[in-house]
Amino acid sequence: MTAATLDPSTAPSGSTWAIGTPRLLAGLDRYGSLDHTAHIATHGPLPPTDRARLTALLDAIALVGRGGAGFPFATKVRATPDHGTVIVNGSESEPASLKDRTLLRRTPHLVLDGAIAVAAATRAKRVTVAVHDDAAAAAVRRAISERRDCRRVRVELVGGGFVAGEARAVRRALDGGWAVPPGRRVHLTQRGTLLSNVETFAQVAVALRLGPHRFRDTGTHAEPGTTLLTVGGAVAHSGVVEVPLGTPLGIVLSAAGAGIPQAVVIGGYHGTWLAPQLNAQLSHAAGLGAGVISVLDGSTCALGELARVTAWLAAQSAQQCGPCRFGLPALARDVAAIVRGANPTAALHHARAVDGRGACHHPDGAARFVTSGLHVLRTEIERHQAHGGCGRPTLGQLAVPA
């Protein structure tokens, strides 16, 4: 396996690199960011498509949404009626994730290609690209102005915190409401809205050009193709990385220049703590989520890191649902007490008490994050119980927004 380094010096917002041949990130090493001319030179023109051809392609490549939930995209396209709306969800509210912003800022035409293709297949009336930051909005608007097939495409800046990136919350924000998830379980496709993550659309654009057979040249049988990761924490080369699905975690960690990891968090702050199993294959089925990989080395207090993120998760509650509003702060206090030497019983109890009891998956994700962390860090917990701490500072290797 070769580590083809895309030159970080041309990267305006964090470095990008790849293991194997980059597909989504193709051309970034040469061009920095791809305007329409560079995009066509790199990827070639977008083949036309329709509903039957697109769903057959999506079935053949088993594409799942890349926003974290991993829902089969062909099923979503099939469930979307004609004449609806396509929403490209670029909110990327996962704090450690940069992949969607990188695509929007540096290769926006690939994302637009995918959105235009899906809009054509579903005869959508409108395409909306929902973004959280000005730089992404400006890059996409500039890209739209460079092409003639984007008259139905608009860019919307939507604000808000962690739960504002949830699919139904994005839809609500675009409708002029609060960017928080609604209480009733209404599927967006029932309302004629097809929403997916930025990377999903870029994958569609790549797949249309490669066709199913070449798309399957890399990756695994169950999950063909590549995926984007955002690698951060205690690594020498943090940034957005494109890897074949099924790549062993250890390959990514050594390419990223990680030292000896103490623990790894996969899938962001709704994700899972792992003891560093270097042969674990990265896959959506194994909880890759939106592709965030955060590395903690031995210099930081891992329990302190867990407590900091848990406090942040509690602060991100939309305050709509009782178990989340009261349960997550209780959970955060419990984890802070563990750092001071308490036993984990109360935290495990409160994690169970919030799990599955909300309008969105924020409490479930927080519960999974804390429960898996306490499991991986059980010897750390014993050390903190015996000595009231581990003597190491909490370095913030798991970044949380200020």
Binding site: V180, P181, P182, G183, R184, Q320, C321, G322, P323, C324, F326, G327, A353, R357, G358, A359
Partner: protein, 66 residues
């Protein structure tokens, strides 16, 4: 046909009336919010369940039949 109690968590304020009316199916957590029994509502409890739904002061309790 199966009937399940569901809660709109964005509406529920934890009044606790449902737990009083359906003590066999609904308990309360330490903050007063309902904890539902995971199973479907049996036919002989449907009348009580509908009454609890109708009396929920926040309109948060629903009986979903599918």
């Amino acid at each position: 046909m199966q009937s399940n109690l569901e809660i709109d968590w964005t509406r529920c304020d934890g009044h606790g009336l449902c737990a009083e009316l359906l003590p066999a199916r609904i308990a309360r957590d330490e903050w007063g919010f309902p904890l539902l029994a995971p199973s479907a509502v049996p036919d002989d409890e449907l009348i009580d369940a509908r009454r609890a739904v109708a009396l929920c002061p926040a309109l948060a309790l629903r009986l979903e039949t599918r």
